[in-house]
Amino acid sequence: MSIEIITFIILGIIGLASAILLVLQKNPVYSALLLILHFLALAGLYLLLNAQFLAVLQILVYAGAIMVLFVFVIMLLNLQNEESLKDPFNLRKIIATVLGFVLLLQFGVFFFIKAKDDLAIQPSPNSIEAGSVKKIGELLFSVYLIPFEVTSFLLLVGIIAAIVLAKRKFE
């Protein structure tokens, strides 16, 4: 086994374990910490796929900014543990878990049986260059310039909406 496959397996196990524990965790603070671990594992997977820029962005934006927001809100609300987790087997949970497994099974059948030949492609040799800041910056400010500007507008709307919603008292 090459070092690449070992890294993939370790990162995949960390990502899967942290995601499953996140869903099972009673305390929201632990869930938030597990989500950070999940994001770090994903950043590692991005690095494995030669997407250096996105790996850094994942840690900065998700594990940094968004998670600070989550942890801040959790501390602000001072929540108690969720009551519904005390009964592990109600109908809703069983149905939801079965649905999740069926979905995963469908994906598995599709990826490994139906589309086996279509997906058996070799990694592109210029994937290292494709993930660099230079290439992404060039594309972002030429081909995708208008979506980029629209995104900045979206973030502005998000800021205003967050302030208005958090400030106003509905009566």
Binding site: S2, L45, L54, E82, R92, K93, I121, A130, G131, L165
Partner: protein, 100 residues
């Protein structure tokens, strides 16, 4: 060499875990975290395809998804705070004022 389908099935597993979380948990913040989990699963698919085809466009879409997720998290958490202020709970089962 890791085949493309391994990345895809891993991201499908993340997505399925996110769906199970959204359907089973009743805490609005945890539901939000599970939505982030699903967005990230899709991002992993984008990056895997972008890397295997040697095309940066998929990575730029991930960039946009991240921007939308940041805006969504800010607005959604503001809604949760407004909700908590009014009902003193963020259990989504108890929030039923839109029901008739």
């Amino acid at each position: 060499m890791i085949p493309l389908s391994f990345y895809l099935i891993l991201s499908a597993a993340f997505f399925a875990i996110g769906i199970v979380g959204v359907l089973t948990r009743r805490n609005a913040i945890i539901i939000f975290m599970c939505i982030e989990l699903m967005l990230n699963a899709v991002n992993l698919t984008f990056v895997a395809f972008a890397s295997f085809f040697g095309d940066s466009s998929g990575q730029i879409f991930v960039f946009f998804v991240m921007a939308v997720a940041a805006a969504e998290a800010a607005v959604g958490l503001a809604i949760i705070i407004a909700l908590f202020r009014n009902k003193l709970t963020i259990n989504v089962d108890e929030v039923n004022i839109l029901k008739w």
